[in-house]
C-alpha cells in the first residue's frame, strides 16, 4: 500500500461502503430506493431508545416439581389400589418427596417392589415408624426443572405470538430465568398480565353439603379447599365470595382445543367460549351427566370464576366462562387459555419499561450532545493544529461514518449509552492524531524536512497509540461480556470506534500528509 493512489481509493471505497450501509438506518431511509433499504442490515434501536419492555421472569421450578409429585402420587395410589396392595395412606412429602404408610412388613415389600419397577424416578426410601419416604432422584429433578423452563418459554412465546408484538425477543437466561423483550409496546400493564398469568384452568365440583362459614373458622374438610370468587362492582370496589370446592379436579385446561372471545347477545357482555378436544369432550359429557343438578366451579389460577349449576348433560365439548369481563380481559384470557398453562408460576424479577416519548427525548439529547461535542473538537483541532488539525478533523469524520457503517453491517443495537460511546470516540479518536502531531512538531524542531518529520512522527507514535487503544479495548470487551442491554450498546460503539480509529487516524491522515509532501512538495507543514 505504498502508492498514494491505492490508499486514497481504499479510503474512498470504505467510506462509500459505510455510507451505503448506514444511510438506511437514518430517517433518510424513506427517500431511498426500496432495493437499497431492504437489502442492507440496519442499526437496531435499543429498548431505551425506541421504547418497550424488558422483563426477566423467574420460573418457580420448585413449584413445578411439587405439582409433578402431586400428580405422581395420584398415579402411584391408583397403581397400588389396582394391585390390591393394602397401604394405609399416601401423600406428597416436602418439595420432591412421597410418603407411603404401610400396616405390615409384607405390604412394605410389595409397595417397594412396585415403586422400584414402575417408578424408577424415585431413589430408595427412608423407613421410619411404618412410613416410607421416597425422594425424586437428582436426574429426575434436573429433568423436571429443565422441562419446566423450556415449557414456560414455549408457552410464553405462544402467548406473545397470539398477542401480536412485532419482533419480540424471548429467551432463556441461566437455569431458571426467561428474558422477554417487547419493543414498541403500547400497553405494558396488559402484557404483564398476559405473560405472568399461570392460567391453570380446572373444573371442580362445589361441596354443597359442607358449611362454608364453619370451614372459614375451623379450616376446610380434608377433601375440600376454600376458594374465592372476586366480584368487581362498577365503582371499582370488589368483594370476595368464599366457596367450598372439592379437591378432586375433574377436567383441566389441558383438554382444550380452542378458546375464543364472544359476545353474549342477551347482556351484551363478552365471554370466553371454550372448545374441548375429543377426549375432553367425552370427559365433560360424563361429568355433566353424572352430576346434573350440582354446581360446577370453573377455577382459574386458584380463583373461582363462576360456579354454574349443571342443568343437563352437555355433549359436543363446549363450555363458556362468563362473569363481568371487560373486552380486553376476555380477549387476553382466551389467548392464555389457547396458548396453554404455564408449568409453574413465574415471578417478574425485573421490569424495565420505557415509553416511546422517553426514547425520542433520549435520541434527541444524544444527537445534540454529539453535534456539539463533535463541533467543539473539530474547532479546537483546527485552531490548535491549523491545516493538520483539519486533517485530523477529516479522520474524525471518517471515523464516525465508518463506525455507523460498521454498526449497521453488524446489525448492532444502538442504545443511549451507545450514543455516549460514539460521542466519546470522537474525543478519544483525535488523541491518536494529537500524539502524532506533537511528535512531528518535535521532529521538525530538530531540523528535519517535513517529509522525514512526518514519517518519524507516525513511526514513533505508533506503539503509544496501540498501547492506549488496547487498554480501552480490554475494558470494552469486559463490559460487553458482563453488561446488560444498554451497556452492551456502549461497549459495542466504543470498541468499534476505537478499532476503526486505528485505521482512520493512522492510514487516513498519513495519506494526506504524503500528498502534501510528495505531490504538493510543501516547504512548511501547517501544524
Amino acid at each position: 500500500m505504498r502508492s498514494i493512489m491505492a490508499r486514497v481509493s481504499l479510503l474512498a471505497a470504505f467510506t462509500m461502503l459505510a455510507i451505503v450501509l448506514f444511510l438506511p438506518s437514518t430517517p433518510l431511509a424513506d427517500r431511498l430506493p426500496d432495493f437499497w433499504v431492504k437489502k442492507i442490515p440496519k442499526i437496531v434501536l435499543g429498548l431505551d431508545l425506541q421504547g418497550g419492555m424488558h422483563l426477566v421472569l423467574d420460573v418457580d421450578q420448585d413449584k413445578a416439581i411439587e405439582n409433578h409429585v402431586q400428580r405422581v402420587v395420584g398415579s402411584v395410589s391408583d397403581s397400588l389400589k389396582k394391585k390390591q396392595i393394602p397401604f394405609t395412606s399416601i401423600s406428597a412429602a416436602g418439595a420432591s418427596g412421597m410418603s407411603i404408610s404401610f400396616p405390615d412388613e409384607k405390604t412394605r415389600e410389595a409397595v417397594n417392589r412396585l415403586i422400584g419397577e414402575e417408578y424408577p424416578v424415585f431413589g430408595s426410601p427412608a423407613v421410619k415408624d411404618g412410613t416410607m419416604t421416597y425422594q425424586l432422584n437428582d436426574k429426575e429433578t434436573t429433568r423436571l426443572k429443565e422441562s419446566a423452563l423450556s415449557q414456560a418459554l414455549e408457552t410464553i412465546r405462544n402467548r406473545i405470538d397470539k398477542f401480536g408484538v412485532s419482533e419480540p425477543v424471548i429467551q432463556k437466561q441461566g437455569e431458571r430465568e426467561i428474558v422477554v423483550e417487547l419493543p414498541g409496546l403500547k400497553d405494558p400493564e396488559r402484557a404483564i398480565q398476559l405473560i405472568g398469568k399461570t392460567a391453570v384452568l380446572e373444573f371442580r365440583l362445589l361441596d354443597e353439603s359442607g358449611d362454608v362459614s364453619k370451614a372459614l373458622k375451623f379450616g376446610p374438610p380434608p377433601d375440600d379447599d376454600i376458594l374465592y370468587e372476586v366480584k368487581r362492582a362498577k365503582d371499582g370496589t370488589s368483594e370476595r365470595i368464599p366457596f367450598l370446592v372439592k379437591k378432586e379436579v375433574l377436567l383441566t385446561g389441558d383438554f382444550l382445543s380452542d378458546a375464543r372471545v364472544a359476545i353474549d347477545s342477551q347482556f351484551n357482555e363478552p365471554y370466553v367460549a371454550l372448545t374441548f378436544d375429543s377426549n375432553g369432550a367425552k370427559i365433560f359429557e360424563r361429568i355433566t351427566s353424572q352430576n346434573t343438578g350440582k354446581r360446577l366451579a370453573i377455577v382459574l389460577d386458584g380463583n373461582v370464576h363462576s360456579a354454574p349449576t349443571i342443568r343437563e348433560a352437555i355433549s359436543g365439548g363446549r363450555a363458556q366462562i362468563s362473569g363481568g369481563f371487560a373486552y380486553d380481559e376476555a380477549t387476553d384470557l382466551a389467548i392464555v387459555l389457547r396458548a396453554g398453562a404455564l408449568p409453574a408460576p413465574v415471578n417478574i424479577i425485573q421490569n424495565v419499561t420505557v415509553g416511546p416519548s422517553v426514547g425520542q427525548d433520549s435520541i434527541r439529547s444524544g444527537v445534540k450532545a454529539g453535534i456539539l461535542g463533535g463541533f467543539l473538537v473539530l474547532l479546537f483541532m483546527f485552531v490548535y493544529y491549523k491545516v493538520s488539525g483539519l486533517v485530523a478533523d477529516f479522520a474524525m469524520g471518517l471515523n464516525v461514518i465508518m463506525l455507523l457503517g460498521a454498526m449497521a453491517w453488524l446489525n448492532s443495537t444502538l442504545t443511549l449509552p451507545g450514543i455516549a460511546g460514539i460521542v466519546l470516540t470522537m474525543g478519544m479518536g483525535v488523541d491518536s492524531n494529537v500524539l502524532i502531531f506533537e511528535r512531528i512538531k518535535e521532529e521538525l524542531k530538530t531540523g528535519r524536512t517535513p517529509r522525514s518529520a512526518v514519517n518519524a512522527g507516525y513511526d514513533r507514535a505508533w506503539w503509544t497509540i496501540i498501547d492506549s487503544h488496547v487498554t480501552t479495548l480490554i475494558t470494552a470487551a469486559v463490559l460487553f461480556q458482563f453488561g446488560s442491554g444498554p451497556i452492551k450498546g456502549f461497549a459495542v460503539s466504543l470498541s468499534l470506534g476505537i478499532l476503526i480509529n486505528l485505521f482512520t487516524s493512522l492510514v487516513g491522515t498519513k495519506v494526506i500528509f504524503d500528498i502534501q509532501n510528495e505531490r504538493l512538495r510543501v516547504k512548511r507543514l501547517s501544524i
Binding site: 431505551d48 426477566v56 423467574d58 417478574i348 424479577i349 425485573q350 421490569n351 424495565v352 419499561t353 420505557v354 415509553g355 416519548s357 422517553v358 427525548d361 433520549s362 439529547s365 444524544g366 450532545a369 454529539g370 456539539l372 461535542g373 463533535g374 467543539l376 473538537v377 479546537f380 483541532m381 490548535y384 491549523k386 443511549l416 449509552p417 455516549a420 460521542v423 466519546l424 470522537m426 474525543g427 478519544m428 488523541d431 494529537v434 500524539l435 506533537e438 518535535e442 506503539w463 503509544t464 498501547d467 492506549s468 487498554t471 480501552t472 479495548l473 480490554i474 475494558t475 470494552a476 470487551a477 469486559v478 463490559l479 461480556q481 458482563f482 453488561g483 446488560s484 451497556i487 456502549f490
Partner: protein
C-alpha cells in the same frame, strides 16, 4: 500553535505532598467501597433492588406537594427528582423484598387520589427484584476484577515490570479517587457509573503510556542522566500532548454533561472527573512511583523498545 513554550517544571520535587493528597483521595475511595457491603453506600435501584418510575403530569406539579403525598401514602423513603420540565417527575424507591408491581401501582394510586385534577402518564418504569440486584452487583465486581487483571497483564507484557506496577497503581488510584469523589457528593452507584469507572480505567492509561514511553526513550538516549531530572525532562517534553489529549475528551464530555440528558449526566460526570484525575496521576503519581526502585542508580536498560 502552542499554548505555552517549552516548560521546565520540577514535577518530581513535589512528589511527597502529592502522594499524600492522592493517598487521602484513594482512602476515601476505599471507604466508598467498604461502605457497599456494610449497606452504607448509596446504591442505585439496579444494585439495591427497587423501583424507579417517571411520571409526566398534564400540569406542572410542586415537588413539596408530591413529597407530602408520598409521605402520607407511606412512602417516606421515596426519592423525588424533578427535571428541567416541571411536569416531569422521577420517583425512586429502594425495596429489597415484596411485590414490586403492587408497590408501583400504589404509588400511581397516591397521585390518582391525591391530585385528581392533574392527570399523569407513566413514562417509564424500572422494577428490579432483590435477586437481580445481587446478581448485578456480582457481575459488576467480576467486570472490575477482570478488566483490572487484563490491563495489568497487558501493561506487564508491554512494559518492564516497574513500569507495569506504576501504571496499574496509577489506574487504581484514578478509579478510587473518582469513587471517593462520587461518594462525597453522594451520587448513586449505578451500573452506568460502574461502566464509566471501567472506561476511565482503560482510558486513563493513555496518558500514562505517553509519559512512560518518553521516559523509556530518554533512558536509552541519556544513559548518563540521573533519574529525577530525566523523569522531569520527560514529563515536560510530553506535557502538551498529555494535556491536549485529555482536553479533547473533556470537550466531548462537557457537551454530554450539558446536553446528554438525565441518564447520561452522571455517566459523563464520572468520566469527566476520571479524565482529569487520570491526567494528574500520569504526571504526579505514575512517574514518581518509578523512583521507588532507586533514584540514584540507573534503572536497567528497558527491555521492550517501543
Amino acid at each position: 500553535m502552542d499554548i505555552w513554550g517549552e516548560t521546565n517544571i520540577d514535577f518530581m520535587g513535589k512528589r511527597w505532598i502529592l502522594f499524600t493528597v492522592s493517598g487521602i483521595a484513594a482512602i476515601i475511595g476505599l471507604i466508598a467501597i467498604i461502605a457497599i457491603p456494610l449497606g452504607k453506600a448509596n446504591l442505585g435501584t439496579d444494585f439495591a433492588g427497587g423501583i424507579a418510575i417517571q411520571f409526566r403530569f398534564e400540569k406542572p406539579v410542586s415537588i413539596e406537594k408530591v413529597r407530602l403525598l408520598m409521605e402520607k401514602g407511606g412512602f417516606r423513603d421515596a426519592n423525588l427528582q424533578q427535571f428541567a420540565e416541571p411536569d416531569k417527575l422521577l420517583i425512586r424507591l429502594k425495596r429489597s423484598s415484596g411485590d414490586l408491581r403492587a408497590v408501583s401501582k400504589s404509588i400511581g394510586d397516591v397521585f390518582t387520589n391525591g391530585i385528581p385534577d392533574n392527570r399523569f402518564t407513566v413514562e417509564s418504569t424500572t422494577e428490579i427484584g432483590p435477586t437481580v440486584g445481587k446478581k448485578l452487583q456480582r457481575d459488576a465486581l467480576w467486570a472490575v476484577g477482570i478488566s483490572m487483571l487484563g490491563i495489568l497483564i497487558y501493561v506487564a507484557w508491554r512494559f518492564e515490570f516497574r513500569f507495569g506496577v506504576a501504571a496499574v497503581i496509577a489506574t487504581l488510584h484514578d478509579v478510587l479517587a473518582v469513587m471517593g469523589f462520587l461518594y462525597i457528593i453522594n451520587k448513586e452507584m449505578t451500573l452506568l457509573i460502574v461502566t464509566a469507572l471501567l472506561t476511565l480505567a482503560g482510558y486513563s492509561l493513555t496518558d500514562t503510556v505517553v509519559v512512560f514511553d518518553r521516559i523509556r526513550e530518554n533512558m536509552h538516549k541519556r544513559t548518563k542522566e540521573e533519574l529525577i531530572p530525566l523523569i522531569n525532562r520527560s514529563v515536560n517534553e510530553v506535557l502538551h500532548r498529555t494535556i491536549v489529549t485529555s482536553f479533547t475528551v473533556v470537550l466531548t464530555l462537557t457537551s454530554l454533561l450539558i446536553l446528554g440528558g438525565e441518564v447520561i449526566h452522571d455517566f459523563a460526570l464520572t468520566l469527566f472527573a476520571g479524565v482529569i484525575v487520570g491526567t494528574y496521576s500520569s504526571i504526579f503519581i505514575a512517574s514518581p512511583i518509578l523512583l521507588f526502585w532507586g533514584d540514584k542508580e540507573k534503572l536497567g536498560t528497558a527491555s521492550h523498545r517501543a
